[in-house]
Symmetry: C2
Amino acid sequence: MTHQSTPAAAATIAPHTEMANCIRFLAADAVQAAKSGHPGMPMGMADVATVLYTRFLKFDAADPAWPDRDRFVLSAGHGSMLIYALSYLTGMPGMDMDDLRNFRQLGSKTAGHPEYGHAPGIEVTTGPLGQGIATSVGMALGERMAAARYGDTLVDHYTYVIAGDGCLMEGISQEAISMAGHLKLGKLIVLWDDNSISIDGATDLSTSDDHLARFEASGWETGRVDGHDPEAIAAAIAAARETDRPTLIACKTVIGFGAPTKQGTAATHGAPLGDDELTATREALGWTHGPFELPERALAAWRAAGARGADEHAAWRNRLEGADAALRETFLSTLSGDLPEGWDTALKAHIAGLIADAPTLASRVASQKALEALVPANPAMIGGSADLTGSNNTRAGGMTPVKPGDYAGNYIHYGVREHGMGAAMNGLALHGGFIPYGGTFLVFADYCRPAIRLAALMGTRVIHVLTHDSIGLGEDGPTHQPVEHLASLRAMPNVAVFRPADAVETAECWALALQNDTGPSLLALSRQGLPTLRKAATEDMPSARGAYVLAEAEGGDRRVTLMATGSEVMLAMTARDTLQGEGIPTAVVSMPCWELFAKQDETYRESVLGTGTVRVAVEAACGMGWERWIGDNGAFVGMDGFGASAPAPQLYQHFGITAEAMVAAAKARL
Amino acid sequence: MTHQSTPAAAATIAPHTEMANCIRFLAADAVQAAKSGHPGMPMGMADVATVLYTRFLKFDAADPAWPDRDRFVLSAGHGSMLIYALSYLTGMPGMDMDDLRNFRQLGSKTAGHPEYGHAPGIEVTTGPLGQGIATSVGMALGERMAAARYGDTLVDHYTYVIAGDGCLMEGISQEAISMAGHLKLGKLIVLWDDNSISIDGATDLSTSDDHLARFEASGWETGRVDGHDPEAIAAAIAAARETDRPTLIACKTVIGFGAPTKQGTAATHGAPLGDDELTATREALGWTHGPFELPERALAAWRAAGARGADEHAAWRNRLEGADAALRETFLSTLSGDLPEGWDTALKAHIAGLIADAPTLASRVASQKALEALVPANPAMIGGSADLTGSNNTRAGGMTPVKPGDYAGNYIHYGVREHGMGAAMNGLALHGGFIPYGGTFLVFADYCRPAIRLAALMGTRVIHVLTHDSIGLGEDGPTHQPVEHLASLRAMPNVAVFRPADAVETAECWALALQNDTGPSLLALSRQGLPTLRKAATEDMPSARGAYVLAEAEGGDRRVTLMATGSEVMLAMTARDTLQGEGIPTAVVSMPCWELFAKQDETYRESVLGTGTVRVAVEAACGMGWERWIGDNGAFVGMDGFGASAPAPQLYQHFGITAEAMVAAAKARL
């Protein structure tokens, strides 16, 4: 339901300003109605957004998912009403005036910050500052990589970002800027809302950066415009589209533009203007329309802007239909996210070979072997590492690096930029057509945790390859030894944390990670060698149930259940040998993925956990969360503090993570 | 025990080179002996380090803790043998040749990465890249702040950093650089090991940044030298000491300098050179000494360098003795870390007032009121926020901001730089004389998690004020609502996570945080109002035991125990009313700090937890870890996924976090 007032008063206002004011008042009125929100940013950037959406942004409001649309990322996500207003004004289906009225209410599409999948026109969930600009680098890279694969006739679009002062102060912005400049992502254009205000007040309270010089130092073009001068904005964007470097345009704006006593101050940043100020703003801007009412002429102009791309969209469809059939098929199937026919054929053969050969391999090495089987069969897979390629074993044979100006490769040297990598992977996945995976040490998952969280929130398929997953890495010591990381990542909703015990499980977990298309998967992998424990071939993949009985008790009813993940499963197997040798029927449960196990039915879970038996868990990590599986009377063998620097075997002894400790714990409870 | 060979062969080598080669071979031989480590960096930066330690660094090896020493931070911590070699060569007590022989062995002082407190000369634990340079900003700021308080005669030292390419690629470096430039920390000098190599290979695989231009954009002076030309290095350092801006000196070096076939390549970065290459390196550099053997002349020269500062140290001691008695007393007592006489007098009065008045306050507001009582009595306290001052309520009345060139204030506007703030707080604490606290939203603890981890590892007293601690923040939605953060932070060793239930507990938790001088404390605080629940005055602080019975069961033996933290304790109290009303004796346990509770004796814990009663816990967060307190038959009322955007009361209903849910869960188990 839309509400339109008569255009009488508006007739004296220039169309651009009238259109921009539609954004301003939708934002200010929605925030006022919600009694919370951020009016200042949409009011300040309304002119820039109007120029972008009416003159440049390639999109077809009737189909916001058109694959070759330009991407628009609102990195300053607190200004969410800007994007909701634009989606409504341009006529995107599924965004009605009632949605704007329900801003920030339970169940509405118009959440406090833009959430991917909740409403049309939202390319990425934003709000945590800096994430949007960093994700956009992955999107812009995805565009170039897709163009290299499918040609400019199918893939040729820009990525536009609106970023605020806060985005640019976050360290992740530097990682993103540096990556984009190095890779010469010329179709990435960042519009900086240069309003000199952050929450604490003027930005000069805390920063003196010359951002333009900083971006230039990373190979960007830069420009500076009056963010309220539509022709200047248009000229700057037009120039930005012509260079082969990414461009930053500093748009000097007045935050809360139009609010007579509050504009230009932090007071407009994160609170409603208030009834009086809002009334005064209407007077100051000559706006005679009530809340959620729009002048007919402006709305019509906006709707025309929303239809601007329809012809181009149709032409693109024609080009797609005329394209080479095999190319089109690959293009569409990778975009769909479905794994291709035969995606796991080589992997299954690889698993059969592992079971036959029973090699001893570090799971990071086993991971590389799994990749050798998967990457050739899955063209959407894009590898990479944050400068630990040889340690993470992320580069399978035949993978070629993505380079500045040459985007045909499928391996990305992300540099020492874990956070930027996490966000870029999100962007590649969101762009569509790619399944990115990237490596670092498990301990440095902390560096990219905010990006992992956004992937979980958005349901994005990205795969983090996290090697050196315990004190088993040895001499590098406690700064590099994860202790709390498994627990802290398992605590995060919608994240699948895999910790495989041997090469067979590693291959299975890779398959499960690829199949998990509703959120991020993390693979925790060892530096040290692990024997193959799975000796028998199975029809399905036992790892798919999250936990399973690897070795059943023998010689009577099970009395002890030993549970473990990853590199400690072999210790559990040794402990089982001892207990069985003493006539105590003992089972070993391998638990490569808690999240998948938690989803199994209770009967299965009980059968695996061995309710009523003595339960002992071992993991070279802190015990938080294990109580769920071992129960009140169970025992946990693991870490209760930070690690140390020494050869790995000594550390396991030193911290008492041994088969002997498991045996003792079990026997003490029998 | 030292081993010295005759100086015959060395006599033909210039003293500087001979001294630098001592570092090179101690590093290469120790890595070779350990069969792991990073020889390339110490070999490459040996000349720079030699110039710094022999000509500039103000220190007295006999007393590495002299408060007015220059600070030296090895941000590229993987090159740890550089710092161990320097500590040994200059003659610091407690660093013997046997310590170098035991590099990376269990129990040795010479861990894989430098660990604060393990050996002399280590100012900060480093290894996670970028942390060292960011921590050094806090140290350099601490120096200026201490000088503003106690005068240049007592405090006047430089902070030198050696950083690598990896440190500069990490986003945290930008936050640190920006902060240092803004604050005009002219006595901060960064020596960049500009060797153009990272683990994956040449840095141009992943970056094209002009770092000098980037630093200049943030207000730094920059210089560029041949990192193997001692006079050029000396001239650059001398110039850097004369400016009022921080300085970056790019030292162009050859990684693994001297290794004939491996120098200048990634092969020297993270692996032993190998026996053959090491022999060839000895030949190439004319080094006739065996492993861990040093030429007498060079060692004597090094020891003389270590004693260089003794006179200056003595003069400083004289100035300290001659200083105003009150000033000296404050200087020494803040340095000692002890809280001053009467540090909690006002706080105790404040608590008494709260119990009498029983206000309803958000705990973030209660936190500010606690600060009003604490800050005036504790001059070491330094406040701040990552641009959320008004939301975090971190600025008490009378606090004045630290500004560029004016360091007398006690409040830091950290800007939108959570990670930089975390590291800077570590640096302020490590410098000595300060107890820093800083605010952001709990959800953004993820942005500074690596810095929190280092504080935990080092045992540094820093206090993170983390407000907006649940879905109770309401409309900002799931990007801003922490769900997994309490669990993920509780999982980290040596971190005290406080979540107070009302204004009284908030004040108590602040006192406990200040008293916790062996690690970081985190305060999770509500946005929404909370009633005062503690109605009776107590002799000691119940919060000090981590958990306690807030309301005992009445009318018979306790049958139900309701446990909660923070804003959910009031729900537990309501649920108790219902259960008591139905004749079910029910206690409420408030658990403001799990870590303190876990340290109590078992008798106390059992008495609080009510073993044998029905136990129900409530927390507006994910349940991981609660099994430990509720046991197999307990119930948890909380979140099992991300939050949503809506007014807070609706969210509590929507997610079923209610007194009714607690009552139902308890009754289902009776």
